[in-house]
């Protein structure tokens, strides 16, 4: 190793450490600042709450055994919506790849549905599915599925035609082309769709809970704002941050494992 390269590595490591430290610092500044502004009553703490109040609320929720039930309700709805939408959306994309006529028939509808704000359908969903978890999961699926279909299908259609020709010259039928080429080539597409769906499925379940529910973080946020308990609203939002971040981390881990397998 040359001295120059060592210097480069050192600089690189220093940058990494600085990066991590800055991130932690930023978090502390944010929390500290928030606490301070609230403590000194620069802004009315009734409106902005404070980190210590948030911790207290979470502790109280935990003691009254409500924390687990609210968190698990939201988590269950979100994960169910996420999985159903991803699997179903991918299956639909596969079917549309096989049947180009059907694909062309559905194209304008997919595009319209994609640009429609799915939230507008909320009231209808409640009429159809009642006020239970089904309606919320359906909302979450609805928000994720269209983008899954569109994303996967465009990935499938972008596979090099020369590769398809190659497989066909080796007597591969459409089914083997799908499995051995088109789907395998789109594992990265699937991973990026998963990442998008993490965010979208949370949007779906929280919106669903806003509209109708007696449980979950979305319910707590709405309830808190109705009775002017902003501490509860903030606490629920903080919990939401952790859950969504955690789910993203799981997907990232999955991505790392898969990418490692492929190179």
């Amino acid at each position: 190793m040359t001295a120059e390269h060592r210097k480069f590595l050192k600089k690189n490591r220093a940058r990494k450490i600085a990066l991590h430290l800055s991130r932690i610092l930023l978090l502390f500044v944010f929390i500290g600042g928030w606490e301070l502004i609230s403590y000194l009553e620069i802004i009315d703490p009734f409106i902005i709450s404070s980190p210590s109040a948030v911790v207290k609320v979470i502790g109280r929720l935990y003691q009254s055994q409500q924390l687990i039930s609210h968190v698990s309700a939201s988590l269950w709805e979100t994960v169910a919506g996420f999985l159903i939408a991803t699997v179903l959306g991918t299956v639909i994309a596969v079917l549309l790849w096989f049947n180009t006529f059907l694909r062309d028939v559905l194209e304008p509808y997919l595009i319209t549905l994609n640009s429609l704000p799915k939230i507008a359908l909320g009231p209808i969903i409640i009429v159809w599915f009642g006020t239970g978890k089904t309606a919320i999961i359906f909302m979450s699926v609805l928000i994720c599925i269209i983008i899954t279909v569109i994303g996967m299908l465009s990935g499938f259609c972008n596979v090099d035609t020369e590769k398809i020709m190659l497989m066909r010259s080796l007597k591969g039928n459409k089914f083997t082309v799908m499995i051995k080429l088109v789907f395998s080539a789109n594992i990265p597409t699937l991973l990026s769709v998963l990442k998008i769906n993490v965010g979208l499925s949370w949007v779906g379940s929280i919106i669903g809970e806003y509209l109708s529910s007696r449980e979950g973080l979305g319910y707590l946020i709405v309830y808190g704002s109705q009775v002017f308990q902003l501490d509860l609203v903030m606490a629920s939002t903080v919990l939401l941050c952790f859950l969504a971040g955690g789910m993203y981390a799981v997907v990232s881990l999955l991505e790392k494992i898969i990418r490692k397998k492929f190179s």
Binding site: L166, L170, K171, K180, S184
Partner: protein, 264 residues
């Protein structure tokens, strides 16, 4: 005896905008063990010829016979090497090379052994478990050629296999491919728009007109087959062949008529 006969073949593409006649009354034949070059201006229909020969398309008119049987019914096997290597990024070189065996359900231990033997023989022994992204352009091209050889084809079709390589790699890969095809005693058709490349590799060169392609002339190359492509370039007849083919080649086609050709 001819292994392949192409008789009065015509072929047209149909798009909503127009009908593109790619080939018109194309006839030629290939002998067993021969290395035949097809040369023509770009977009004249060279890839189309290969797609017809590999049975992916059916001629609008005319007939293609492989070992005296119509090509789509023939039991004989064809190995197609596309313009770019088209190795699958997610498969190891070994798995890539065995793709054909998998698809043809011939993934027996002996055939796999044969595949690995070829990889070793042609300098890819250390890369069997590697992924294509870890190989140089020339190595990838060799792997792609081995992928076509593994299925033991009766006829090899090479579609401008060197066009994506830089000049230096091109010369050495040319030598490699020539050596491999001669050693494995294969019959091959090489499509190209590079005159030098065609003369240095082939025993016979078929010059195509511009689109719709038809055979302008067949030129036997009488330089010893024992020489490597690089050595052939030194031969004094090389330049005469070059001049002859150069004078036969017409202006390049305007590729821009159809959407598909723009992708190239």
């Amino acid at each position: 005896m001819s292994i392949l006969t192409v008789q009065n073949v015509s072929f047209s593409y149909h798009t909503v905008q127009e009908e593109v006649q790619a080939l018109r009354n194309l006839s030629f034949s290939v002998e067993e063990g021969e290395f035949v070059g097809i040369i023509g201006p770009s977009c004249c229909g060279k890839t189309t010829v290969l797609n017809l020969l590999s049975g992916l398309f059916t001629p609008t008119e005319g007939e293609i016979l492989l070992r005296n049987a119509p090509i789509r019914k023939s039991a004989s096997r064809i190995g197609l090497m596309p313009q770019r290597d088209q190795l699958f990024a997610w498969r190891t070189i070994e798995k890539n090379v065995c793709l054909g065996l998998e698809l043809l359900r011939e993934n027996t231990p002996e055939r796999k052994e044969y595949a690995i033997g070829l990889l070793r023989k042609y300098g890819l022994g250390d890369f069997i478990k590697k992924h294509p992204s870890e190989l140089s352009g020339g190595m990838r091209q060799r792997a792609a050629l081995i992928r076509t050889l593994v299925i033991q084809p009766d006829l090899l079709l090479l579609d401008e296999p060197f066009s994506a390589l830089d000049f230096q790699t091109r010369l050495s890969v040319c030598d490699d491919v020539y050596k491999i095809i001669r050693q494995e005693k294969k019959t091959a058709i090489l499509v190209s728009h590079d005159i030098n490349e065609s003369i240095s590799l082939c025993d016979k060169i078929i010059v195509l007109s511009k689109r719709p392609a038809t055979v302008k002339e067949e030129i036997p190359v009488e330089i010893s087959r024992e020489l490597t492509p690089l050595q052939k370039r030194e031969d004094k007849r090389f330049n005469q062949y070059f001049k002859k083919i150069w004078s036969l080649l017409e202006d390049t086609n305007d590729c821009g008529t159809s959407k598909i050709s723009k992708k190239e």
